[in-house]
Symmetry: C2
Subunit: 346 residues, 2 copies
């Protein structure tokens, strides 16, 4: 049986409403009473009951984070941990808690979310890694429930989102290789349903064009965010009669697969082929050789998402609803792209 506002009130010789007002720093409360009540609260070890509070205020001070349905591959990535850490840190800092949820199937996901939303358990939601046509996004945007998407969704322009400028990021990666002297640059992409894949391909193309280099669609290989995909892409490229001297790779994990394959076949990185990839997960600097990678500020993405969501909840609208936040990226150059390409005529 914990201490309630009534207990405090009784002991302080005031009414419950007064205690409540002390708690919320109501202006019309005398300094004297305030002091006394606070003292007694301290003494009795009073802690407000969040449930009661939520019930009347219709607000829970918590955010829901929807984990993507267990696509196992995603969890190989430290990506999510970083993201979540960013979200939780900022949320806690603003006095919000974070409720995690996930579903085994799309249906379960929607169920879980609707339980949270309709049950009044959360004030807003952050969606990680939304797919195209994500039913959860549909659901939330339909209800006009405060929502932030991490990543960009083509069809939900009316939903807040936090994202990397992937086009620019890919262009940066590609330009870096061009500057090193590379003229034959391949691209290892992710699933073509994901906007991130498409954006990065665009950026890659853009940089090639700027430099007046030919666009060769046969040098764009599609795969998944898995090490195996990298391995396969590597085989493909290395068996070509005319090989690229450098690769831009859509994700660090995929690069790991490539590195491993190249090592097995006895190729040297960057001597035989240079590699630049994306995300700069912690392990990128631990690989052999350490990987050049675009740091997209994963923690920062999470942090920003949390911040944007809380603003939206507070109604600091300022027409920033339906806004897209871009988190800056930067290229981290490591050994995998430190040298110029072998001398050949293109």
């Amino acid at each position: 049986m914990s201490v309630t506002i009534k207990d405090v009130a009784k002991r302080a010789g005031v009414s419950p409403s007064t205690v409540s007002r002390v708690l919320s720093n109501h202006p019309r409360i005398s300094h004297a009473t305030s002091e006394k009540v606070r003292e007694i609260m301290e003494e009795m070890g009073y802690h407000p009951n969040m449930m009661a509070k939520s019930l009347v205020s219709k607000t829970t001070k918590s955010l829901g984070v929807i984990l993507p349905k267990p696509a196992e591959e995603l969890f190989l990535n430290t990506f999510f941990m970083e993201l979540i850490r960013g979200i939780v840190t900022q949320a806690n800092r603003s006095g919000y808690d974070v409720v995690l949820t996930s579903g085994a199937s799309e249906k379960e996901e929607v169920d879980a979310v609707s339980r949270l939303v309709f049950g009044g358990r959360i004030d807003g939601a952050i969606l990680l890694y939304s797919r195209q046509n994500d039913p959860v996004v549909d659901f939330l945007s339909d209800k006009e429930f405060p929502t932030v998407l991490i990543g960009r969704s083509e069809q939900h322009a009316n939903v807040l989102s936090v994202d990397t400028n992937n086009i620019e990021a890919a262009a940066d990666a590609t330009r870096h290789l061009i500057q090193l002297g590379h003229r034959r640059i391949g691209f290892v992409s992710g699933p073509s349903e994901l906007v991130v894949s498409l954006d990065r391909i665009s950026g890659y193309r853009q940089a090639l064009q700027e430099a007046g280099l030919p666009l060769r669609d046969d040098w764009i290989v599609e795969g998944e965010f898995l090490q195996e995909s990298g391995y396969r892409a590597m085989s493909f490229f290395m068996n070509l009669p005319e090989r690229p001297t450098a690769l831009v790779v859509v994700d660090d994990i995929v690069s790991f697969g490539i590195l491993r394959g190249l090592h097995e076949l006895g190729y040297k990185v960057p001597d035989d082929i240079s590699i630049v990839s994306f995300n700069n997960i912690a392990l990128a600097e631990l690989s052999t050789p350490p990987l050049s990678s675009i740091d997209i500020g994963i923690y920062h993405l999470g942090y920003t998402a949390s911040q944007a969501l809380i603003q939206a909840i507070r109604g600091d609208d300022h027409a920033l609803l339906s806004q897209r936040h871009i988190v800056p990226h930067r290229l981290i150059v490591r050994e995998s792209s430190m040298f110029s390409p072998p001398h050949t005529e293109s």
Copy 2:
């Protein structure tokens, strides 16, 4: 304004209590009414308000997960993501939500937890990676709040915990190397404040003793769960006049540092030195060479923790309070330990 139990009651021509009873499958409700009420609930889109429910039932159907204070190194590890995934999956499956929290400092951590606990926001807590003398554990065990520790704490024998049998796991790793023919085996440990480090050292020693091999304390190197520690340990061992032919390493990340160092110095693994480590994070099979590692079932640890906690909350006591759950481990042999040691006389 959402649909309440009263709205449903009015429309169905029954009392709110009846609706509530339908919801909770009260035995004394007629099939007819039940059907009718359910129909109307569906029709009106009724969803129970969790806050109101919690207020009266004094139970929230959510678990708190306390992330360790941002020890950056921990987040390099996919460890936590796996753990959390296990926790969330099992919790959701049992109808529980998971609230995440973390603190920038120990004080903030305790504050955050006490807010959750006293505020009645969570029914139980899971602590990841508790330190010795963890103030959060003290706080929770003091309040007799349902708590599960992942990992073992020496001083809180009265707290539920889920853990690996690290002594046995380390012994297994060491025995594996002995079976391959190794006679000179070193150990790279973690911080000596952590029980996990100490346990693994014990297991290592035990296996050496069983095999009648000499215990050499100068072949036990202490470090942190960082790649740099591995690098340093590697330097130490490789500069020894008499070198071990194999190493048991306390964490995969540390092994990555070792592998990288060996590669730089031109040593081959496993030809020159064999390595077995712990945790078998997803990247262990992606390293060069792939790493032999003890799989401690991280996901399973999280899953079990969640399960144990929910049981404790439900009061399925059966004297299983203050119990220690052991999650089985198994050795995954990969290339880093596939060959016999170079021929030498010990």
